[in-house]
């Protein structure tokens, strides 16, 4: 371990340190001060982490090759930090009202962020697995963090049991991969597998187990069933974070493992992924369509988005543009989905648990800024320009078509119509049904509104000027070129 090694993982160090500082500060300062300063400290730490990372496009390794600092890792590091900042910004008022220990909340978010970042920069099975667990285990905690809330308990328990189960499967698949290749590094495995191909029986077992394990983390149908319950029951700020960061991390892992490691088998798994993508987006949308609870609907919708992203993975044959599309979509999805969940916090402060559609009636009048932001996020999730969600969909469609998956492109398009129905129905309830005039205006936490406002503007801005982000995604995707 050299200085260079430490420098290479400075962002992770920064985030971890911040987590510790937050815990420490909570113990030291008073309650009122903590309420104000803990989020600030968290955000500061994350900002430092963003700027602590390398700015160059050159990739290098550290820790004897166990850490790869490439454009891909950089992309995800920054993305995870942004998502963590966003999650921190929206949380304080909710935590206060629901008596959720704030310091532990922030620290847990930060720990999870470290795990996610670890996934992005890993170059072997061990690191990726440890990272995956470091990312997931805090999420279990986040889900269950509203201790006195039965739904939160249930969410945490379900997520934990199934998550552990799937982790075991993934691990077993890793074990077989190791057995097949005699190594745990991605490069080594790839080399070993390209010799044998899928005809080797054990390869098949390993591939299937890894597919299922990763598909679970990304909430791919039919491995998705934990998602709605976990998202629904968890405290809303936690939901907001857990709906995006673990999914982004899962796709980082999928890219690293499926493309970077199991690339030689891509012909096989991509066919399965294409079908899974179609099933996932359709299943997610169709069930979201019949949800009355907006939080749960958004949970299903996030499954549908998994499908879209997975389509980009399945279209690996299109080359860099496929991976870049995945990265771009993950970014877009992260911002808009987190924002959408966070918009529910306004109502949660009144005591709802993820508002029903009817509870949203008149939201536009009761909370104009929140309603505009929510509408923007929903329109973006639908994929209507000029929002980032639209551009992301375009970027996904392009490689999908390029890879010759015309049917999948059509399925995506039709699914977007389905999705439009339920997303826009929320807008209907916010803007077009009125609640009686006596309904009080909703609380207006400044940090939350500011965060949502900025995110909303970002969603539109990036929808109009997406080029630099896409170029960045292209750079980040450069390590994954398979043809």
């Amino acid at each position: 371990m050299t200085i260079a090694d430490v420098v290479a993982v400075l962002p992770e160090v920064a985030v971890t340190t911040t987590a510790l500082l937050v815990l420490l500060a909570d113990a030291v300062v008073g309650r009122r001060a903590a309420r104000t300063w803990l989020p600030v400290l968290t955000i500061l730490g994350l900002v430092v982490a963003i700027f602590a990372g390398p700015r160059t496009v050159a990739s290098h390794t550290a820790f004897g090759g166990f850490v790869v600092i490439d454009t891909f890792a950089t992309f995800f590091r920054i993305l995870f930090c942004i998502l963590a900042i966003f999650a921190t910004v929206v949380a304080p008022e909710y935590l206060e009202r629901r008596a959720i220990p704030a310091a532990e909340f922030y620290a847990t978010v930060l720990f999870s962020t470290v795990g996610a970042m670890t996934i992005a920069l890993s170059s072997d099975l061990i690191t990726v697995f440890v990272g995956l667990e470091l990312m997931t285990i805090p999420i279990y905690v986040l889900a269950a963090m509203a201790r006195r809330d039965r739904y939160s308990n249930e969410a945490g328990l379900k997520y934990f049991l199934l998550g552990a189960f799937s982790s075991a499967m993934l691990l077993y698949g890793f074990a077989w991969l190791y057995g097949l290749s005699g190594t745990t590094t991605f490069a080594g495995i790839a080399k070993a597998i390209s010799a044998g191909g899928l005809t080797n029986g054990p390869t098949l077992v390993a591939l299937a187990l890894v597919t299922v394990g990763l598909a679970f983390k990304a909430a791919v149908v039919p491995f998705h069933q934990w998602t709605p319950d976990a998202y629904d029951g968890a405290p809303t700020p936690a939901t907001a974070f857990m709906s995006v960061a673990p999914k982004a991390a899962a796709f980082a892992a999928i890219l690293r493992i499926m493309l970077g490691t199991l690339g030689p088998l891509a012909l096989d798994w991509s066919a399965v992924f294409a079908v899974l993508a179609a099933i996932t987006m359709t299943g997610g949308n169709v069930v979201a369509l019949v949800q009355g609870n907006v939080k749960r609907m958004l949970a299903y919708s996030s499954i549908a988005h998994t499908g879209y992203i997975l389509a980009g993975v399945a279209a690996y044959q299109a080359g860099t543009s496929a991976s870049a599309a995945v990265l771009f979509y993950v970014f877009a999805y992260g911002v808009m989905n987190l924002g959408a969940f966070a918009c529910l916090i306004y109502l949660d402060l009144e005591g709802t648990r993820g508002a029903t559609l009817d509870e949203l009636n008149g939201f536009a009048r009761r909370q104009p800024i929140g309603a505009v932001a929510f509408a923007v996020f929903l329109i973006s999730l639908t994929g209507i320009p000029p929002t980032i969600g639209f551009v992301a969909k375009v970027f996904i469609l392009q490689p999908v078509l390029d890879a010759g998956l015309v049917w999948l492109a059509v399925v995506i398009a039709l699914n977007a119509v389905l999705a439009a129905f339920y997303y826009l129905r929320v807008v209907v309830h916010m803007y077009m049904y009125d609640v009686d005039a006596n309904a009080p205006r909703l609380l207006h936490p400044n940090l939350l509104s500011a965060g949502l406002g900025i995110a909303g503007i970002a969603v539109v801005f990036l929808g109009i000027v997406p080029d630099f982000l896409y170029r960045w995604a292209l750079q980040a995707a450069a390590p994954f070129v398979l043809r």
Partner: protein, 165 residues
């Protein structure tokens, strides 16, 4: 010693599979926990057979020791009762068995395709190389794992600590 290996292997395998099955099949929670510990112990034996003494040691310490005890605590803190299935779809044993067999048997069969014989283990133990690589090559995952433990610690505390008022 070599001729004993298959015997030990058979014994441990029997212990692992038998005790594992019991964990799944039995209804008494404490027995289940203890049988799980037995599985872990047999596993340690397997590790020894494979020449991984250090791993075997960790296995005993962490699994047979710490984890089993943790789980026993968990058992003690909660009231255990088996009830009839409330809803018909909760009864899924048959489906589960069918699926697991359908997957498990081919996988086990494929497992046997790793036919390479294993050479006799060289003496000298695996502690030194393991430790060396853990703290040099694997320094980064090691650090991450320590963060993981910290995170788990914080998480466990925040979940079970009593409310402050």
């Amino acid at each position: 010693m070599d001729f004993l290996e298959p015997v030990f292997f058979a014994l441990f395998a029997l212990g692992i599979i038998g005790a594992g099955l019991c964990v799944v099949v039995l209804r008494r929670i404490t027995a289940q926990a203890l049988l799980m510990a037995l599985t872990f112990a047999c596993m340690a034996g397997m590790f020894l057979l494979l020449g991984a003494e250090t791993i075997a040691l960790f296995q005993v310490l962490i699994y047979v020791g710490a984890i089993t005890i943790l789980i026993l605590f968990g058992v003690m803190f909660t009231k255990q009762e088996e009830r009839a299935y409330g809803l018909f779809f909760q009864e899924q044993t048959r489906w589960a068995a069918a699926f697991v067999l359908l997957i498990g048997l081919p996988v086990a069969y494929l497992a046997l395709s790793f036919a390479d014989p294993l050479t006799p283990s060289a003496k000298g133990g695996d502690l030194i190389p393991l430790a060396a690589s853990l703290f040099t090559d694997y320094a980064f995952p090691f650090e991450v794992a320590s963060v993981l433990l910290l995170a788990a610690l914080v998480g466990a505390i925040v979940l079970v600590k009593r409310d402050e008022q």
